[in-house]
């Protein structure tokens, strides 16, 4: 059985930050990542990040992954990393974790503390023909283009104008793919205004109060019908046919929290955070005394916030084991999160977080 002080489940923005922080306190850390390489969504992000210098603002996402990986490497053998390993279960009786390497090898892990940094899953919305080849999640499009260097098609309809929809539209254009249009059911873009302006000035229409009605085609996507919608997202006519061979869905994410459910963490459904998430205290500890959460698994938010949450969880998990950490850093990290969440776009996050924060846990 593999054993470790701090097990980090997920090697993305939150998990790598958590691992780096816990290791810097002296803890032995093991990172299990289901993908073939570390970095999570960061490695697909070719755009420059927002935030402040503390969150590497102005640096491209994949470069931030490199920075975090360097930090992990500098911790030497205190951090053990396994890729292509999926955590499959948590057994609350004795805290055993089960994991699977590839498709063959099963093994068990015994960890004193666990940080769940499992990220999120993409949502899809139902519409006729949404099972045609050519209907992609935005994450898949990014993986194809930015990890494997494969363009998904020639002309894309983007569904959703959150930051992911806007940024992936821009990345598609950088890859030489036309973006026929972006549709967004809300009366304003959900992502940053500047990201919308960036693609608008390159001639991409953004249809607000529009949604996809159906995909056209029999074997593959050959087009799409979009239509105007009302406040309740019901179609009210004004249909347009869009010429496209790819429909890219960027309609939101849901936190990946199965492990938290299995462990019996107290969960709450919070629409602002995009699904069920564990309650947590100021150290990102869940109601389970050995389990912390960070990043999108604790509520859908920007990668910059995920990295800070990872730091908090890593620091606290290590300190709970008696490793020396600077407790003052907790205040610093919370002040950074406060700044990141302060604006108009952070309003939703603030409302969500206030529903899941507890003052402390009764031991």
């Amino acid at each position: 059985m593999m054993s470790t002080d701090v097990l980090v489940v997920g090697g993305g923005a939150a998990g790598l930050s958590a691992a780096a922080e816990a290791a810097s306190c002296g803890a032995r850390v093991t990172v299990l990542e289901s993908d073939l390489q570390l970095g999570g969504q960061l490695i697909k992000q070719t755009h420059k990040f927002f935030g402040s210098k503390d969150e590497y603002a102005g640096t491209r996402g994949y470069k931030i992954a490199d920075i975090l990986l360097d930090e992990i490497r500098s911790a030497g053998d205190r951090v053990e990393v396994h890729t292509n390993v999926t955590v499959t279960g948590y057994y609350p009786e004795d805290g055993t974790i089960t994991a699977m390497r590839g498709e063959e090898e099963y093994f068990r892990v015994s960890a004193k503390k666990v940080i769940v940094a499992t990220g999120a899953q993409e949502r899809l919305i139902p519409f006729p023909n949404n099972d045609l080849p050519g209907v992609y999640g935005a994450g898949a499009v990014q993986t194809l283009m930015n990890v494997y260097g494969v363009v998904p098609g020639k002309r894309v309809l983007m569904v959703g104008a959150g930051n992911i929809g806007l940024i992936v539209s821009y990345q598609l254009m950088q890859a030489g793919v036309q973006v026929a249009a972006v549709v967004e059911a809300m009366p304003k873009v959900g992502g940053y205004w500047v990201h919308a302006a960036k693609i608008r000035r390159l001639g991409v229409p953004i249809y607000l109060r529009y949604s996809i009605k159906e995909a056209l085609g029999s074997q593959v996507v050959e087009g799409a019908i979009i239509q105007e919608v009302d406040d309740r997202c019901s179609g009210i006519g004004n249909e347009k046919e869009i010429d496209c061979d790819i429909i890219c869905m960027a309609v939101g994410l849901s936190p990946t929290v199965e492990l938290c459910w299995q462990a019996g963490c107290q969960m709450k459904y919070v629409p602002h955070l995009c699904g069920y998430v564990p309650l947590r205290d100021r150290t990102m500890r869940t109601s389970h005394k050995d389990i912390w959460v960070a990043g999108d698994a604790s509520g859908i938010e920007e990668a910059s916030a995920a990295m800070v949450e990872g730091r908090i969880a890593g620091l606290s998990a290590a300190m709970s084991l008696g490793f020396k950490g600077d407790p003052g850093k907790l205040d610093e990290y919370w002040s950074r999160l406060g700044h990141l969440r302060a604006g108009e776009v952070g309003e939703k996050i603030r409302a969500g977080i206030s529903q899941v924060m507890v003052d402390g846990w009764e031991e």
């Binding site: 927002f50 402040s52 254009m173 009366p187 205004w193 500047v194 960036k198 000035r201 249809y207 109060r209």
Partner: protein, 169 residues
């Protein structure tokens, strides 16, 4: 919701407002090398325009969510912010450049093909319509991070319209 609001909500600047203002004309028209024009009207947690500014012209943010404020007397038109801004929302406009009636615009550029001096470009407005055809005067890469700054001449009456270029090859 008016059409104008809806247009703004889709990423089009329909009128100048806080965080998206033009420099004062009396200073602007005589400022060699140009002054910065920033179009960042939404409060978001982001400040690289300030931290990348070598002269302090982009005033330090009290709150990282503040929209940028500019001390135009300090701006040298260096375009470091143009290349650093993650939102590609910074531009420099030099009204003293070239012949009567022409201005030099320094615009961020992250597309292929990589433009070179002398290339023909289409100048695009905020909705991507071609409003002018011009020639690349210079290309710089201030941070050596693949974000280029393309210098193109445009008529003075288009400096509040042109916001992107497309290279014609």
């Amino acid at each position: 919701m008016t059409d104008k609001e809806l247009l703004f909500n889709s990423g089009i600047l329909v009128e100048h407002r806080e965080g998206a203002e033009l420099p004062p004309m009396d200073l602007w028209k005589g400022k060699k090398n140009g002054l910065v024009v920033i179009e960042c009207p939404q409060r978001i947690p982001c400040n690289p325009c300030n931290t990348s500014c070598p002269t302090g012209a982009v005033i330090p943010f009290k709150d990282i969510n503040d929209v940028p404020k500019i001390d135009y007397s300090k701006c040298t038109g260096c375009a470091m912010c143009v290349a650093k801004c993650p939102g590609l929302a910074c531009f420099v406009v030099d009204l003293t450049w070239g012949d009567e009636g022409m201005a030099l615009m320094k615009l961020p550029y992250e597309m292929l093909p990589r433009p070179e001096k002398g290339d023909r470009v289409q100048c695009l407005d905020r909705v991507g319509q071609v409003v002018f055809e011009s020639t690349v005067e210079a290309v710089t890469e201030p941070w050596k991070d693949s974000t280029l700054v393309v210098h193109v001449g445009v008529p003075v009456d288009l400096v509040d319209k042109v916001r992107a270029v497309r290279v014609v090859k």
